[in-house]
Symmetry: C2
Subunit: 471 residues, 2 copies
Amino acid sequence: MEIDNKKYIRLIEEGKIFSYSLAKGTFILPPNGFIIWDQIKKYLDDKFEKLNVKNVILPTLIPISLLEKEKEHIKGFSPELFLVRKKKLDNQIELEDSDEILALRPTSEVLFYEWFSKILQSYKQLPFLYNQWGQVFRAEKNTKPFLRNTEFLWQEGHTLQSSEEEARDFSKKILNIYKDYVENILCLSVTIGKKTSCEKFAGALESYTVECLLPDYQCLQVATSHYFGKNFSYAFNVSFRDEENKLKIPSSTSWGTSTRSIGALVLAHSDDFGLVFPFKIAPIQIAFIRRGDEQCLKDYETETYNKLSSLYRCKFYDENKQLSVNLASADKEGCPIKIIIGSREFESKNLTISLRFSPKEKNVISNEEIFSFIVDSEKKISNYLYEKSDFVKKSHVFKFDNYCDFIKEIEYKKGLFLVPFCDRSSCENSVREKFPSFSFRCISFSEEILNNKCIFCQFDSVGMAYFGRSY
Amino acid sequence: MEIDNKKYIRLIEEGKIFSYSLAKGTFILPPNGFIIWDQIKKYLDDKFEKLNVKNVILPTLIPISLLEKEKEHIKGFSPELFLVRKKKLDNQIELEDSDEILALRPTSEVLFYEWFSKILQSYKQLPFLYNQWGQVFRAEKNTKPFLRNTEFLWQEGHTLQSSEEEARDFSKKILNIYKDYVENILCLSVTIGKKTSCEKFAGALESYTVECLLPDYQCLQVATSHYFGKNFSYAFNVSFRDEENKLKIPSSTSWGTSTRSIGALVLAHSDDFGLVFPFKIAPIQIAFIRRGDEQCLKDYETETYNKLSSLYRCKFYDENKQLSVNLASADKEGCPIKIIIGSREFESKNLTISLRFSPKEKNVISNEEIFSFIVDSEKKISNYLYEKSDFVKKSHVFKFDNYCDFIKEIEYKKGLFLVPFCDRSSCENSVREKFPSFSFRCISFSEEILNNKCIFCQFDSVGMAYFGRSY
């Protein structure tokens, strides 16, 4: 289902996962939104911990002087910086001259490397594998909830390794963790690959990306992992003594995923009735809805609720007297499983269960079957959502081996165009001019090259590149 | 042990719980520091959840216009605000005129109330019980790690209740949770009470506080809970319809504790060898230190490590060849239990254990006894640290029922002075002028009034007030 902007806002507000805050482009994560982000956090923290990554917290304030050390890198964030000054609040607002001008971090590379340069001495300390969960700031002009915000939440990992190979391998390991999380937790079909030279992160040697093609056939980048070589270590004088006491420069990586993922979830899975969530990250996993007001029904409902609520996030939907309104509330919040209890269910000690993804199907099961039913449903829901997302992708990736066919079809086809590409900046820039609303999303790792020549310039192609519209 | 500033910095840097970041007054929480804060977070989240409090995330950016709605409240934070503007980064730094001037939140009352005013309609939605973990900003001139920072971490709870009584009760419930956490998790003896009219939070009707008397006999506020009555709800037009559809104003509370707690931990428990932590929140709970390099010793050590590391945070200290250096490293990091393994231990299948708080005592136990030994030690360590902190308090609280005795002893005694007090602002202001380095810490809930008259002004006393030096 394609979702226009108005509908998108309605979905996330009625689903209680988002609320505007007053500074332009900022938002509040209400309890439902918090739970989704917290589930993503727990899943990734667990994966990162297995790689021995440690969590840390760095400040959001950075002296401008420090930011300017890595000019190439910072240019990538211009003109999106927020500048901070001290403020005196008397009757009038007054600016105070401050010794140092501060900025709000647009990303934390420079904070990490400054710290690394202070604490790294010996090869024995390496690798440094650090991650932080926090918010970053970009003074964007056009904002859209979750997809583009001036202040948003993310996770950013930063590592130092003694060898280039170790660092590059690590950035690819992380890419695979991201792929796994987007596929298995968000239930989205993905395209992974390498960013082109023009599109890669400022200061990186290589940037890897996880991209989703959403139902409006636009592409969204949901996670990235960067291999820096020694670029950042050089810029910030980070070095160490190796086993022979020689001075060496470490290689490094950074990688992140953000609340943008929640936007992808909403755009990919929602329907006319509201949000649709995979079971694992649904804020409310099981809705309890009662048909009738008799005490025996309330008792039966509470008994079932108590049985499940220690294992699952459960909620009574009983604010309204009308059954249909309560059902609709649960649907708006994307609750995957609804348990409906009325006198028929009470008398037969059964439960009527409705699954969010297939509303017409009514399942009547005995009370004892509930646990196995939930486990089965969880899988069914995941498969259904993933397959739906995968269908969008599979049916809208179009391969071309020559410019002639490509130019004929790009006019009217919607989706991703997969073409042999040279990855030269001059070629990419001229392609950008010709197709201003398109961009290269990534160069595939696995797609077989259909033509040794780039379809745009006839130079040697380095791989098959995905070309499409993006958010 | 009294700790001067230089020693304090050395303790937290060598203990790897703190690192300066570059913007003045900001800091990095390295892995060890992160774990302490995370343990505090987990403990409190669990307690809050039992009260049905939900976590949310609000932005750090606030439009100045919104802050100015509650002038009384904001004056309390003047002149400590950071002001934010958009920034253009070309060759030169340039300020861009922005539609709205933003500030970094010094606390989030106004963000919460603005949100509440949008989402609250009916009594059915109440109570609102929300909490967020995040950072806040105060442009302090004099900073000290953990105790006073320009950017620090905290938790802030914000609630709305339909009745005044319910709100006041809730703020006291939270106070008791804080008391419990400071006593049982941080192992600090506390003084709790009500802030005086002058010292209470700007906009609050009542502020409750948890204060610690530290070994230098200065007082540190480690947590507070505020009852607002309807003040904030009025200021932000927050209202709801009651059961009879009448418009009502909700009562409210807010409450918080911060990374300042980590400072209290360090100042209260450290010794000449380094940090000393209670077992529950120690970043490294069990240190493994080997005497000798034989493979059989390594195997025995690894086997013991594997047995314990799924339950406890364990670390091998083997960076140095000298046993004493490795022991000292574990001590600097405040590790409560050290397991030492050498050939003697290997041959007898024993373990030698040294407890951080009593370094001279060597415990030799059999390998099977290890789990029960740890459980016993955990209690011993808590008791020891708490008793030590309690002794500081008990031996340095001085009660007076008249001004004459008080004025004689305040000159040369160090500690807290407990005196009958009227809680009138005019009286408090004149006392402040006379004793500029002292302040009223709180009015005790439980201490019996020794004199019906305030010892400073002879007006009626409302309770016994703690008067002392503070950080």
